[in-house]
């Protein structure tokens, strides 16, 4: 009668299922490699000597304008003779950072909003979720742009930036985190609320309430841990959406400002060089390809997590 298999915690079971999802594993390796490359590239530039650094430093101007991909410049060079490969790797820092932090911001807002609405119920729930409905039917793009342009102006004229102008670029990145997180939490809030609604009637939560536990204790102790799987899955799926949004905003010129670059600004620079006489395809194709593969990998990762935590089949 005895079961030969050892008892596994839900997290261990999820890990087992995740390992069987081959695209997700390949994606995880791809992302890890990309991250390593992004982190190690500055070190390479320093270690491999001045000649190498002179060729590849992302802000190093040179006479080799618009040279197509070759042995020295793997992704070619741009208008100012800068190495596109280096620029893509430096752009990755911004794009990935905004993706991760923006998704975390949306996670925090979404989980708190959904958990509070679902747990409190009643009129609070109704008001909070109608608010989400209304935000859903506003074009988010308007919201983001108005927020970013006006707060961008505020940053520009604030006394911090007036005293040290170098700060402006960094503050704009922080603004992107907050702005993108602030518009990407709606789906998360809806899903979390649905989960909390079903969780709060479960026996172990009722038992805890019967024992006199306070709502914030129940939320922190029982509800939040139980929506961890779903939250982590949607975190992985929100990340590509936010990276995409950031590159779109940077493409519009609302994101990071030069000389900082993200994948969006790199593609945008390539687009400005479109002309009927000469075709500089590498300016768009390489940043675009790295962007697309990252989004693809994150989506596969999200799929793998969804299968691992069995999100769909839960009540």
């Amino acid at each position: 009668m005895s079961d030969a298999r050892p008892h596994l915690s839900p997290a261990q079971q999820a890990w087992r299922r995740f390992r069987r999802h081959r695209p997700a594993i390949v994606s995880a390796w791809f992302l890890a490699t990309l991250l390593l490359l992004v982190l190690l590239w500055p070190v390479c530039l320093r270690v491999l000597g001045t000649h190498f650094a002179g060729l590849h430093s992302p802000n190093q101007l040179s006479d080799a304008q618009f040279s197509p991909p070759n042995a020295a410049h793997w992704f070619g060079t741009d208008l100012h003779g800068r190495d596109v490969f280096s620029r893509v790797l430096y752009g990755a820092r911004i794009s990935l950072l905004v993706g991760v932090v923006g998704a975390l911001v949306s996670l925090v807002i979404g989980v708190l909003w959904g958990a509070i609405a679902g747990y409190t119920g009643g009129r609070t729930d109704a008001v909070m979720m109608r608010f989400v409905d209304v935000l859903y039917s506003l074009p988010t793009i308007i919201f983001v742009i108005v927020l970013l342009t006006t707060l961008g102006q505020v940053i520009k004229h604030s006394h911090w930036v007036q005293s040290s102008p170098a700060l402006e670029g960094n503050l704009r990145v922080v603004l992107l985190f907050v702005g993108l997180g602030a518009v990407s939490w709606l789906t998360m809030a809806r899903i979390v609320r649905g989960q909390v609604l079903s969780l709060r009637t479960r026996p172990f939560v009722e038992a805890s309430r019967a024992l006199g536990a306070k709502p914030h204790w129940i939320l922190a102790r029982h509800i939040i841990p139980n929506i961890f799987g779903i939250a982590i899955t949607y975190l992985a799926l929100t990340m590509p959406a936010i990276i995409l949004y950031e590159s779109f905003l940077s493409y519009l010129g609302l994101g990071v400002q030069p000389p900082m670059a993200s994948w969006g600004t790199l593609v945008a620079e390539g687009v400005t060089q479109i002309n009927p006489i000469r075709i500089y395809w590498w300016l768009i194709a390489f940043p675009g390809a790295v962007l697309v593969s990252t989004l693809l990998a994150l989506n596969f990762l999200g799929d793998g997590l969804r299968d691992a935590w069995d999100v769909k089949n839960r009540p």
Binding site: P139, I142, L244, S247, L252, V267, P276, I279, W281, L295
Partner: protein, 320 residues
């Protein structure tokens, strides 16, 4: 009855949306005339602000915008201020000063509608067959290849695919024209660039829906009757399997029809997608609110159409 109530509910929703968009713009520091190329003299700016009633308190501006403002004439009698949203007047743009918002919408919307409709047709025409095919061949190599293609396409943003289409089809091979909006040939590349991502989304949603429908009991019953797999899917599963596609198609069509900034600016098309972004950049309140309302109205109508289509497709669905 259900649909009547839904339509009635749309009115307060639109009011809330207009109020939110209005408040959002007003809450932001700075005004619509801060970014003029040459800064206006205080005198001129005061006159401009007065002409657009920006010197009034916010609530009064909003009531004037709605067309619910009554003012006292010099002789003491109340009279209704003409214009306003309730009379179908979206007001004047604060940036494009020779144009009313109605003008801008009337000029740009037909272009965006055409572009969006063709892109929608492209997404459906390619997405549905791919979705059906991958569902029918589930678990086989055709499914893996098709599914990889669809997820890949979902991950390619419009601002990457559109320039590549221009470089390839217009500049390198010189097959299709770009940069104008005259012949039907000019419509092909922009709508392909716009619809490409949705091909993948539609195909993925349709595949999922078909697989779910294929597990329901009436399909098992039909299989027991000895129907072939294709006939089974085509005759029985499709009606249910297409439902998720229908509910996704509503919001998607609203997105497509209100234009795309990226596609319109890369291909230099005079649609309203460009105005959606530019109005937000310029803090052009009447234009922002007008376009937000247009989008919301489209969304509400299309979601209603989705629900109506449900009752036609699935006899089990009934709205109280």
């Amino acid at each position: 009855m259900y649909f009547v109530r839904r339509i009635l509910f749309a009115v307060p929703l639109l009011l809330v949306i207009s109020l939110l968009a209005f408040m959002l713009v007003k809450a932001m520091p700075g005004g619509p005339f801060d970014r003029e190329r040459a800064h206006a003299s205080p005198e001129v700016e005061r006159n401009l602000r007065a002409a657009y009633h920006l010197d009034e308190p916010g609530w009064k501006q909003y009531l004037r915008y709605l067309g619910l403002l009554w003012e006292r004439s010099p002789d003491g009698s109340l009279h209704h201020v003409s214009g306003g949203l309730l009379n179908g007047d979206f007001g004047k743009s604060t940036k494009y000063r020779n144009h009313t918002v109605n003008d801008i919408i009337a000029q740009g919307l037909p272009v965006s509608l055409l572009l969006g409709a063709v892109a929608f047709g492209f997404a459906m025409g390619l997405g549905l067959p791919i979705g059906f095919w991958t569902a029918a061949k589930r678990g086989r190599w055709e499914d893996y290849i098709g599914s990889f293609f669809t997820i890949l396409v979902v991950c390619i943003p419009a601002f990457v695919i559109a320039p590549m289409l221009i470089l390839g089809f217009a500049l390198k091979w010189r097959l299709l024209p770009v940069g104008l909006w005259e012949t039907p040939w000019h419509v092909i590349l922009p709508s392909a660039g716009l619809g490409m991502m949705f091909v993948g989304k539609i195909a993925r949603i349709f595949r999922e829906g078909m697989l779910q429908a294929a597990q329901s009991e009436f399909v098992t019953a039909a299989r027991a009757k000895g129907l072939s797999e294709y006939a089974l899917l085509l005759r029985h599963a499709v009606r249910i399997g297409v439902l998720p596609v229908v509910s996704y198609a509503g919001p998607m069509l609203a997105d497509l029809l209100t234009g795309s900034f990226v596609i319109e600016s890369i291909f230099q098309i005079p649609g309203i997608g460009v105005f959606l972004v530019n109005s937000s950049l310029n803090l052009d309140a009447p234009l922002i609110v007008g376009l937000a309302l247009l989008y919301a109205m489209l969304l509400i109508v299309l979601n209603l159409a989705v629900d109506f289509a449900y009752t036609l497709l699935d006899p089990r669905v009934k709205y109280e």
